[in-house]
Subunit: 384 residues, 2 copies
């Protein structure tokens, strides 16, 4: 019996204007637009192989080698349903095509980074899945159109369908057809954007982002003001900062929006905390870096966990890595060590005491491209 | 040469609806009204002795035995100027009165608790100072009128001029004449309100509240929404909860407002953090207490520092102290040990691990009365 196979590799994205709050939890429709930077798959990627065969008895999903109960995953089913509908339309127009839309699909997925580190693995995973199945089905749809499908798997996954700087426009329609990702600028527009990720150990993750954001939507009195009055303006400002290569403005808006996202979490009842004392220390360390540099050369941002992502430009790498190597001297924690680095003159290193204990890993990466097809398939069982 | 002397003892107050933001930094006019509970001077008090003599060459202030440079304290001068004006009016009406308004004044002040613990010592201190000098000058003004003067010393000091539940009405006039404290209800209205204070060690205090609040006023985009849309309604709700003895509503509003105050701090640029990991653990411990109790029996609140103040009612003291004794078993850290206590059935003690290390002191106290005059004067040097 035939087996059809296709594989894709998809990037992680880290938001600079945060997605927090759903107006429709089933369709993953957000309460506000958001912006992210797609990171290089050289450093952080989800790999997915999708296979289809008339021999398969059901859909299945194997994540990092462990079978997942697919019936329970309404998210995955929603993506497969939409992708099959697009394939069915192709088959209807061209009867010579194999009827893949009627086959069950097996999906194998893994990350090249630890899932537990809290690095938006579900966004990369669903983007890789949608890209792989779209390849398998030979769908002609654009990344924008596919992003609408990935969004139903994991909201922020829609932004991982494109490279560079990506906006997720919230849309206004009830069916979600206008809630999709658009590329603000490709990687080539500003290829010198880099990111350093400080993986910070958490005692225990606070509430999941899915339930956390709905707690905020329901209970925070500041949240409505954020989504109605702050984000729409900030979206345009950040977009223009990107288009104008205005790093200082981009960085300032990025930090302000990370802080505001955590502020509305704190304004929720019960209050939600994702940052811990080490996260706050990382903020102070970046503030001191910008002070010592005399301008804003680095921006911190935190997702729904304590990890600190620092965006900076290639030209400031020495200063940023100089700080980070002083803060986290243990070379074993670093994923790469190829850059020269020196601490800025006058930097107050007192602020760094104890940060080394809390940071378990430093990952250096950079702005990256959209998901790509790959011929390197993950292992999958043969079909008799 | 004659020396005139008067002394007073004044209480600490801990806000349940927070004062954060000045619309006039010179006059200490707030951006929003606030509410507090006055705590018993049996446990926390500022003692002040004020002396006046024609022999004095200047005004002076001795705080906890250490002379303060009075010329530098515009705050203190503002209070003395206003109090002298009121005295001068009395003297003008009755020429038999000694001309105290023309004498210099020496002020001696100390607290019965460590100033460094961050327990609103300046509020109690300025309230005691205004009360003592008002006594010295035999001023007939009401606590409301005196609160207007204390406000110019330290904003929240105005609320320490009264006992029980106190509101600070922000007022609207530019000269601040309508920005003063009013008693919402005396201690006798709800005498069973108790407070436990967990003194939590801070590595280093973040920005002072005086500069912190102006950073928030200038930079937080959520702040305007808080002061315009949230606080005015919350003030009325909290006032009614107090008048109706509705502890659950009072507690819920208190916790929400503490969280929102810290949320607008976090939404400031640079972000301001007063709570630390131990503070957040205290929040979780109180949440678990309310869950185990099946209703809201305790409310946490945090001022501009990591200390946790827990309000509860006498009838729930066993449950609250049961939790606190389990969390902080070291009896040396407790200011009193006279209550029986037992942990609520089903309480998840895992949440408490490590809290003992962070809490340096547990202070038990209760709702209290207004400042009082006292004949126990602090030592002051004789005048030749």
């Amino acid at each position: 019996m035939p087996v059809f196979v296709a594989s894709a590799k998809a990037p992680v994205n880290i938001a600079t204007l945060k997605y927090w709050g759903k107006r429709d939890t089933k369709l993953n429709l957000p309460t506000n637009s958001s912006i992210s930077v797609t990171l290089s798959t050289d450093d952080l990627a989800a790999y997915t192989t999708a296979t289809a065969s008339p021999a398969y008895k059901d859909d299945s999903l194997v994540l990092n080698g462990i079978p997942e109960p697919i019936e329970q995953s309404a998210r995955l089913s929603a993506c497969l349903r939409e992708l099959r509908a697009l394939r069915a339309a192709l088959e209807q127009a061209d009867s010579s095509l194999p009827p893949l839309s009627s086959y069950h699909v097996h999906v194998f997925s893994k990350n090249n980074f630890p899932t537990a580190a809290g690095l938006a693995s579900s966004a990369a995973g669903f983007a890789a899945l949608v890209r792989a199945v779209a390849n398998l089905f030979e769908l002609p749809q654009s990344p924008e159109e596919l992003s609408r499908i990935a969004r139903q798997g994991s909201g922020s996954a829609c932004r991982s369908l494109m490279g560079g700087f990506v906006g997720w426009e919230m849309g206004s329609k009830d069916d979600g057809s206008d809630s999709l990702a658009v590329q603000i600028a490709p990687k080539s527009h500003w290829p010198t954007i880099k990111a350093a990720i400080l993986v910070i150990s958490a005692q225990k993750k606070d509430i999941s982002s899915t339930s956390g954001m709905q707690t905020t939507v329901k209970t925070s009195s500041l949240f409505q003001h954020r989504i109605q009055n702050v984000v729409p303006r900030r979206y345009e400002e950040m977009k223009n900062a990107i288009l104008n290569h205005d790093f200082e403005l981009f960085a300032t808006l990025t930090m302000a929006d990370s802080n505001q996202f955590h502020a509305v979490c704190l304004d929720s009842m019960p209050p939600i905390f994702y940052m811990n004392d080490a996260s706050r220390q990382a903020i102070r360390a970046v503030e001191e870096l910008n002070r010592a540099a005399g301008k804003t050369i680095a921006a911190y941002t935190f997702d729904a966990g304590p990890n600190c992502v620092i965006y900076y430009q290639q030209e400031d790498e020495q200063a940023v890595l100089g700080l980070l190597r002083t803060a986290v001297p243990d070379a074993d924690k670093w994923t790469s060590t190829n850059a020269s680095a020196s601490l800025l003159h006058g930097y107050n290193t007192e602020l760094l005491a104890g940060l080394d204990n809390a940071v378990t890993q430093v990952i250096l990466t950079s702005i990256g491209d959209a998901p790509v097809s790959t011929e390197e398939h993950l292992d999958f069982p043969p079909v008799e």
